[in-house]
Symmetry: C2
Subunit: 703 residues, 2 copies
């Protein structure tokens, strides 16, 4: 259930608690922003029992005196008075309250207790609370600043990007990218997030008609299901989310956790969740701005090719390099384009893609416009990369004018790259035109790559999908779990149609010999005991048994060894199982529960690939057939499954089916699966199927 | 033999050929730079037969009339007259000539022919030529501009970084980083490089007392040995080279080659050569500036730890993240430092590394200086990263003043990161103080990582080492090569002390059976025929032979199969060879000849690791013991050799010895090895040694 934030971001009436004109106080600066720099034309009520008037406006002694129920309360009073003030606001029917005041959970346990009371007030009364310890809210498109920063009045380039952050300083970093041309319509940053949190703002922006792209800086997600719901809502509204997640390394995670109360999950899990939700993850703030600016310019299809328009050989080559290294496609200019360029440009130009007009064109700068027009109109060019290696006064200004004019006349996507540390009039012209220059060719290629990859992902987007976590929140909190024996686990898998080897649990050596004969072919003998997980380490596994006497010997050796290592263990017997045919590839799949995002599936090829190269893919459950196919294909080891060096493809279809079946298994609440790992899975050649050779399964108690 | 460029970069007398004051002509602009904006106080002679005077100075009709032999000639006359002008210069005893004029090899074959004549003139007369088609030379530290760009007069921040480029535009990009605080003492960019080339400038800068760091932008290396010699000379002078190599991707390489005549080698080979020569490779121009600025600030030891001084929780966490992801070490603040900080800072600060003073410190900005002082003086802190998330007017200015003051008073290395797109007075203060703000935390971490890694590499630097290529240049051009049979190749290897399996070449089945008995254990049979390289594919290999009749059968099957596939081949027989013990790891090593850098060794583990993960290391020959050890350790697969999952380490010492022995073998001119590949090499557990199981060797003819 999403909260409608319309009256928060665009209130008709505001009550300001703690109104003051004391110079440089938070209240004075916030009131200055509201009265002098905002376009607020609703009713504004000031509350301060100690003052008659502030800013020439009358003060009320208490919020109860406000003649209407205000849409918004802005609270600036000291921390110890905030709960009282909020309680009075709720009593007066205030819909939303923004609390700037700091000094709560970020300073200690006393603050945490007050926050718990504030949260309880919000839950009890329905008044939604934004803050405390926050920089406020900036609705740039409506020119409304419920914020105390003197920077409010300087950061007024509105636009179609919405910004949702947790920390105020990094939010301001992004806001200052207005100076690089990004238009930001709305910035929300709710500090300690006792009630409203980043997910609420994402959901609001997904519905807001003036917002097309959502840029987010996340330190941690408090409420996983809420975040997922917001992200899926944005995806269904076709609003891309570009997100920087802080806390990717262990030391960054530690720093994040000391700074916020939010749980900062593992970087790998976050990245997988983001990918699955269609969130475009970036690595740094400059990249956040770059990628958001591309989305604000146009939506990707996923197959865009690049034209390069350059004015020097070096930047042509470096651009081509960056495009090549990012594995982005270089367009092939048509004969018509090449002919047009040859007609237009003197002999010094290198007519190709990358186009190098050479720096001599600056002597005839009127040629820039028609030459750029020829490139953007080429049918194979979807994006034109325009590297500007240096500021060169009026000449570069003319080049920038050509970019602005061609873009305006054609709607073509042109990405100027301002490579120099010197910005001049040309840069300013681009910014004024709302074109965001990217600051290096490497950044440009990286941004275009992320933008384009989103187009590819959208093709797979299933608007009906939502993760299990939302229904399973109550199950996740269940008590004790128990580990099943391999035989129990495999029997459960077999019952769900997952292939396991033919085998039989044997209680004595004679039964083992008989089982071997019945099974036929080579067999393996394995200790069956829920308490013994590393079976091989204690001599609990014997491979390659063929003759009945080998089975007898294996049974006896295994039992002796197991009893020696685990005298007290409850040993159920020995599993005699047909060995997998030779020649297959080993894979593994595991499902564990992430504390924020619920059950996650991890897939990879066995052994050293995972250990050395961390070559795995992950998904939240349920895993659909399309996502299973994608999971397998996005590992680098996929080449091995697909038949490297003419070795014939593996049974990828069977592997896909196994991932889906395992997901369905775990999603079935009746099964009460806590975690499961199939490792190794034998993957045969196409048509030969797959086999779960080992299975470790834990089940929640009470089933 | 290095050329002394002292009279080029700081001439006492100059003759200017083609002097003109026609507005915006190259000659006029170059003369303006020289007369009005340079601090040149030597003799300047103008030559123009059509003019009496230019810029109020008399003109000579011909260079022969110059009363002394000038150190430098600057040539601006049209392309068709350049050779004549240069010939006259050489006749007058000019030491160096700079040719700005374009229209040579870059426009077609006629230009190429003139360049060949110019090169011949240089070789014949000893006059060294810089250009043509070049932006000239800028000696900023002496304020001398032999350049026609109007930008000369604006780019005058001298310093200890030398800049050597090939393209003019990208060179100017770096020059404009003066606006970000980088001081550049000398910029050389010789355009078409008919004579003097980038290697000459690197060598000069290595000797120049005013240059400490060499920044280079390379599109291709014309003369491999000269480049290597220059780089090694710089390394021996302890002058780090930071280089951006353009042409890393196939399309970038194509663009580079269309733009310059230089051979642009493979990115992998270039990267390996750079690493071996101690060149710090970077990926983009902004990174070139970042890394050069760190070297200009201080030389790395390789074990520096980082302190983070931040003014917001978000930037503390993001900084820690970037440092963590780059695997840089975070310092541990001492109890004394923590106590000092606790004394200094109010309770809102998070006292730890990363330090988060919180934004509240901007209300008490006088605390920034002592707090920063406490951090930089911590004994575990070698570098202090100072993220500045936003421009915030005078407050940030005070923070920047604290950085400048602490650095000046302590000599501590402080890296400010200006994360915002808005630059203000604080930024300008840093730049004026010659402190280069890095523009994103990701860039900062990347730059520090490269800088610090150089310190680690320096520990291995062997000043006596130089590559084989220089001696072997004549051998590389040898004619036909022949491929040896496996038996011949292994016999050569064995003679050099490289371990190969025990084996015997057998001409008939009886001999094969006898050989099997003599060898003992399991054996392999392999066809021996120089024309058959993919032995397995044609049934030319039989494994696991134990009994004599198996050897007989294998011999017959192999011969039948080989004759069926290659009826005309000269089959020498069948090699019966002892199989390697089970349980080893397979590796490979190959040596091929790179057209620019000569013989290169490539090492990796066998099979899919190389194909899927390109996990190899490379070196120019000769490979020393230290480099062999490093080669093995820098692959990610090293973990496998080192005993992943408790499996005991492999015989790494034997593998190192094999790499060195193979290098020595190929370096021996008497062996005349063209290329060699040992694949697979069996690597046993520690003490078990290694075995070259297969060997393909090509030898130059005439030996």
């Amino acid at each position: 259930m999403r909260t409608d934030l319309a009256r928060l971001v665009d209130p008709r009436s505001i009550v300001f608690i703690g109104a003051s004109d004391r110079q440089d106080s938070i209240a004075q600066r916030a009131l200055e922003n509201l009265i002098e720099h905002s376009a607020f034309d609703g009713a504004l009520y000031l509350v301060n029992p100690k003052r008659k008037d502030v800013f020439g406006r009358p003060c009320l002694a208490d919020v109860s005196e406000v003649p209407e129920a205000p849409d918004l309360a802005i609270v600036t009073t000291p921390a110890e008075t905030v709960l009282t003030a909020l309680t009075a606001c709720a009593a007066r029917g205030v819909a939303f309250a923004i609390v700037f005041t700091a000094g709560f959970s970020e300073v200690g346990d006393a603050g945490k207790d007050i926050e718990a009371d504030i949260k309880a007030l919000a839950d009890r009364t329905g008044m939604r609370i934004y803050g405390p310890n926050c920089p406020g809210l900036t609705n740039v498109n409506k020119r409304l600043g419920f914020a105390f920063s003197p920077a409010f009045k300087t950061d007024l380039r509105g636009g179609s990007t919405g910004l949702a952050t947790q920390g105020g300083a990094l939010g301001r970093t992004v806001m200052q990218s207005m100076d690089r041309g990004l238009g930001i319509g709305l910035w929300c940053s709710a500090g300690n997030e006792v009630d409203l949190e980043i997910s609420d703002f994402i959901a609001h922006m997904a519905d807001a008609p003036d917002i097309d792209v959502i840029a987010a800086v996340l330190e941690g997600v408090r409420d996983g299901p809420k975040f997922v719901a917001a992200a899926l809502h944005a995806a269904r509204q076709a609003k891309p989310i570009v997100a920087l997640k802080i806390g990717k390394s262990s030391i960054g995670m530690a720093a994040t956790q000391s700074h916020t109360a939010a749980i900062s999950g593992s970087a790998e899990v976050n990245a997988a969740v983001f990918r699955q939700l269609g969130i475009v993850e970036v690595d740094d703030l400059d990249e956040l701005v770059d990628v958001a600016s591309l989305f604000a310019e146009k939506r990707p299809r996923g197959d865009e090719k690049i034209g390069i328009f350059s004015m020097s050989g070096g930047s042509a080559a470096l651009s081509a390099d960056m495009i090549g290294l990012a594995e982005l496609g270089l367009a092939q200019f048509s004969p018509e384009t090449l002919a047009k360029l040859r007609d237009l440009l003197p002999s010094y130009a290198a007519i190709a893609n990358p186009l190098d007009t050479s720096g001599n064109i600056l002597a005839t700068p009127h040629l820039l416009y028609p030459a750029l027009m020829a490139v953007v109109q080429d049918t194979d060019v979807s994006i034109t990369l325009f590297p500007i290696p240096l500021d060169y006064g009026k000449f570069i200004e003319i080049a920038c004018e050509a970019i602005i004019r061609v873009r305006a006349e054609t709607g073509a996507m042109i990405v100027p790259v301002w490579m120099s540390d010197r910005t001049g009039a040309g840069y300013a012209k681009l910014v004024t035109a709302g074109i965001v220059p990217i600051r290096s060719l490497g950044n440009a290629a990286k941004a275009i790559k992320r933008w384009r990859a989103h187009g590819q992902r959208l093709k797979r987007f299933d608007p009906t999908w939502s993760p299990l976590m939302q229904d399973a929140a109550n199950l996740a909190s269940a008590g004790a779990v128990r580990t099943l024996t391999e035989v129990e686990a495999k029997s459960k898998l077999a019952a769900r149609g997952l292939a396991v080897p033919v085998g039989r649990l044997c209680g004595d050596a004679t039964a083992a010999a008989a089982a071997l004969s019945d099974i036929g072919g080579k067999a393996v003998a394995k200790i069956v005991c829920a308490q013994i997980t590393h079976k091989s380490d204690i001599g609990g596994v014997k491979l390659g048994l063929v003759a009945p006497n080998e089975a007898i010997r294996a049974f006896e050796d295994i039992m002796t060894s197991a009893k020696a290592h685990f005298p007290c263990a409850h040993i159920e017997g020995v599993l005699i199982e047909r060995m997998a045919p030779s020649g297959g590839i080993e894979a593994f799949v595991g499902i564990h529960r992430d504390p924020v995002f619920g059950p996650m599936m991890t897939f990879g090829l066995g052994g050293v690939y995972v250990e050395l190269f961390r070559d795995v893919s992950r998904r939240m459950l349920p895993v659909t057939a399309a996502e299973a196919a994608a999971m397998i294909r996005e590992t680098r080891c996929f080449a091995l499954l697909n038949g490297l060096r003419g070795q014939g493809a593996s049974d990828i279809a069977a592997l896909e089916a196994l991932l889906v079946a395992l997901s369905d298994f775990v999603c079935d609440p009746a099964e009460a699966i806590e975690e499961i790992e199939l490792n190794p899975i034998w993957v045969g050649k196409a048509g030969q199927g797959v086999l779960a050779l080992d299975a470790v399964l834990t089940q929640r108690s009470g089933r």
